[in-house]
């Protein structure tokens, strides 16, 4: 359209066409190289090198003070029989049940807020406040709220005639307690993204469905759900990546990893091993496993997403 075919190379499209090595091109490439240098150098020093070193260190006994001895697969073999590791892995997975619950709740909220209802802006702000609040302060607050005798949660349950447990000191309730808090904290974020997606759905889709006599469930199943699918996908991925790295809540609310280590997450265990026990080689092996798990889960998600979009 706007491309004039003169022989001046600068008027060529800047995209994928094979560039002519003109003087300007060289100048431009040099500038581009300088501009991207900073992130590239940062990537090499602070991501790639530590990442490769993590993998190397996972095959050694390393106490962090320089003493390092090749250990082969020793660390990984120990992981297979390390009950604490298994427990922390299980806890991490367990606490991810908050992800689907949170997504369903936030989609419902978003659908509610997408209607003609007074005060939607106020609702949005209120639901979003926990998201912007610092996780450390929120953890402190909820630790107090879960206090068995005087905590907010049990006082509320008391109104309903339920005698609440001492949430964080009980191995059966500590994980659900953390899940509830995580949902509370993240609800506003997912809600906001869902709401943005809902608002971008063309109204005529619903009007057409009405003409065809579709009921509310059918409208949801065949219009709303497919239209918010990209957001669901995005949220599932980011929530899993974030959930796999849960640490702050655990560190503050159950500093020892909870009763019988029942709230310790993988990152909490890695942190303990690396920086308290100085078993950095062993901790590196765990961090490699964690990275691998996250990678595989993300890959599966991408696969599933591809498949389901074909079906649509």
């Amino acid at each position: 359209m706007g491309k004039q075919s003169t022989d001046v190379s600068i008027n060529k499209p800047l995209g994928n066409k094979k560039p002519k090595k003109s003087k300007l091109y060289k100048k431009e490439s040099r500038a581009a190289l300088i501009f991207i240098l900073s992130p590239v150098v940062g990537y090499l020093i602070f991501t790639l090198y530590p990442f490769l070193y993590s993998i190397y260190a996972s095959f050694t006994t390393w106490n962090g003070l320089g003493f390092q001895e090749w250990n082969g697969l020793g660390n990984y073999v120990s992981l297979l029989t390390d009950d604490y590791f298994h427990k922390s892995l299980f806890n991490t997975l367990y606490m991810m049940i908050g992800i689907p619950i949170g997504l369903i709740l936030s989609l419902l909220l978003a659908m509610g807020l997408n209607r003609r209802i007074p005060g939607t802006t106020t609702f949005r702000v209120i639901y979003y406040v926990p998201v912007i609040s610092s996780l450390a302060a929120i953890s402190v607050l909820w630790q107090w709220a879960y206090n068995g005798d005087y905590g907010l949660v049990n006082q509320f349950l008391g109104y309903l005639g339920i005698d609440g447990p001492n949430w964080l000191q009980n191995k059966n309730t500590v994980k659900p307690a953390l899940v509830i808090m995580t949902i509370w904290k993240g609800l506003g974020m997912s809600m906001l993204l869902y709401l943005a997606a809902l608002q971008s759905v063309p109204k005529m889709y619903y009007e057409a469905a009405d003409l065809d006599g579709a009921n509310a469930f059918q409208r949801f199943r065949h219009i709303t759900w497919p239209m918010v699918k990209p957001v669901t996908f995005f949220l599932v991925i980011t929530n899993i990546i974030g959930g796999a790295q849960m640490f702050t809540e655990i560190n503050i609310m159950t500093p020892t990893g909870g009763p019988e280590y029942s709230s310790a997450t993988v990152v909490f265990y890695i942190w303990q091993k690396a920086f308290t026990n100085l078993q950095m080689g062993y901790a590196s092996a765990m961090s490699v496993v964690l990275g691998l798990i996250i990678f595989i889960v993300t890959l599966i998600q991408f696969r599933l997403n591809d498949k389901s979009s074909f079906e649509m």
Binding site: L24, P39, F46, P50, I132, V140, Q245
Partner: protein, 280 residues
Amino acid sequence: MSQKKTTRIANIFIFIALCIGAVAMIAPLIWMLSTSVKQRTDVFALPPVWIPENFNWGKYLEIWEAGPLLSGIQNSLIISLSVCIVGTFTSSLAAFAFAKLRLAFKNVIFLLLLSAMMIPYPSLMIPQFSMFSSMGWVDTLLPLIVPPIFGNIVMVFFLRQYLINVPNSIIEAAKIDGCSFFGMFTKIIFPLIRPAVAAQLILWFMGVWNDYLAPIIYLSSPEKLTIQLVIANFNATYAIQTDYPLIMAASVIALLPMLIVFLVFQKQIIESIAITGVKG
């Protein structure tokens, strides 16, 4: 007509549900505020007192003496501001190059950088720590500032997406005028991407301000701690003495800066986050 009526009834029920939800969202925060102004005996009153009879604002004076709260805020500000200001500059410059300039293999390089998003921080933190400890940077703010100022790949990604939709002709015109590439960035590109930059900046600032894992690894002396660590230490120290009003007062102070920023800019923040998410 009847459909209109059912819609209205449905709306009333949804409104009530949303109100209940809103109360559940806000109640813990109100309770935190109310605890912070209670007398110690009121804290353990049963049934609970939501609005104490006499407000005790004393804890808000006491907290500054009870722990390194002020230096915590200072340190957090130093880290977040330097990271976000320098990092935004390096990131947007790189995004400009990746989106608009010609460079061999630039897409391969970009994909490599993008792969960094897949690697969780816990997989990097141990070698990073030993690296910084051999440089003698442990217990300084430097390990928290230096890596991110090289650029944030998430920000590069979103700004590049944003810039790709900008027609090339703007840059070509600048080239004909003999504008330098850096001049192009400062005069044309940066003003253009400012809304996208603002959105990313806010998210990034919140992330750095609220970070906990990296600071807890590196910082140990009381005067070096960030605000988040100070709060956690308050909690650990004063919970034994059951001085909950003090802990809650400190937590309120920790929440307040972000809360104010949010309430002032809530429209922009909510819009920008919605945009980011939809594009992502």
